[in-house]
Assembly symmetry: C2
Amino acid sequence: MSEAQMPTPRTRVVREAHRGVYDRQTAYAILDEGFLCHVGFSVEGQPFVIPTLYGRQGDSLFLHGSAASRMLRQMKQSLPVCVTVTLVDGLVLARSIFNQSMNYRSVVVLGKATLVDDPGGKREALRLFSEHVIPGRWADVRPPNERELKQTSVLRLPIEEFSSKVRTGPPVDDEEDYSFPTWAGVVPLEMKSGDPIADERVPAGQAVPKYAQRYARKP
Amino acid sequence: MSEAQMPTPRTRVVREAHRGVYDRQTAYAILDEGFLCHVGFSVEGQPFVIPTLYGRQGDSLFLHGSAASRMLRQMKQSLPVCVTVTLVDGLVLARSIFNQSMNYRSVVVLGKATLVDDPGGKREALRLFSEHVIPGRWADVRPPNERELKQTSVLRLPIEEFSSKVRTGPPVDDEEDYSFPTWAGVVPLEMKSGDPIADERVPAGQAVPKYAQRYARKP
């Protein structure tokens, strides 16, 4: 795992360049904390951006590939995509509106996605999605059968060309604005879970599994 | 405001078609609850997906347009984009892995974005972004000056071609799986705010404004 990945001209952060981070460790920590990505691809010059689940295994991303995979099948080749994962950490209230900001961590991965076509690979990807979203669940579910694997579409994207962008900490105002008489600071934001809701056909008294209690994304 | 917008072939939901929703009311409720969008555009055949803030005014979306606007300026014309907003409402734990799902609400808007070039329009967009993210803040901040407006880039996207996709409620398992002995249900998820953190130069004793206390996105 290279710790000092160089950005390419396509992944170098241009705006707010000081927020660009290019090592795999930072990117993988963000990818592992999130579970929803937005995958972008083009059809006849029109970009599409579709939210979908993903998982990471080593230096590959696996995507639940419904929309994009249909297109890929038509093309019968690999598909240029952009996968972006964004974690929102807080609102940054500066004294000037111009310095208002957001604390966040995002990763952009560019590359060519290919279909995972063999049932074994698809099964492994389903396990990956499941364990990525809710670790421990896989052992408790009815596993996929052959028919279901046929209906599942999975894309693999090598994590080769990527960059992260990270903003943390308090607002940064222009020096002359610090005397402006308004409150300034950060409103922290985090994805939080509520109490699990059993469906109507769970037998009364059946315990909620540990992994569904106090579910959280932060490591 | 049309209540029965027809989808175009490009916005019709194909996968899980029963989750497609095409009225403006649904789309606008989602757009108004979220504040972060993912905007997709293409450069020389490579799609890019960039997270950014947005605001809505009537039937237009306004985007904080850093990355995309640089490109647009080169093209000197409008830019085909896709703007996607996704709200995550919960994890859906079904008995079969195949029916594992997520409760979410998303909107996809396709169209051509144009630069907002006049200072008045940019100022209004900054107000819109601010009030969209944290209503009430605009009145308390140092407003943008001429230099800052010059550095601000804003894109406008008419909301003409769009669709929403919504999943709510408990897992839906195949009938034969309901006897499978595992817990099934929903883990609700919501973006929650923590206690506001004043920066070091806020005078001791200065009250946290109301809009920053118990901040929440749900209406």
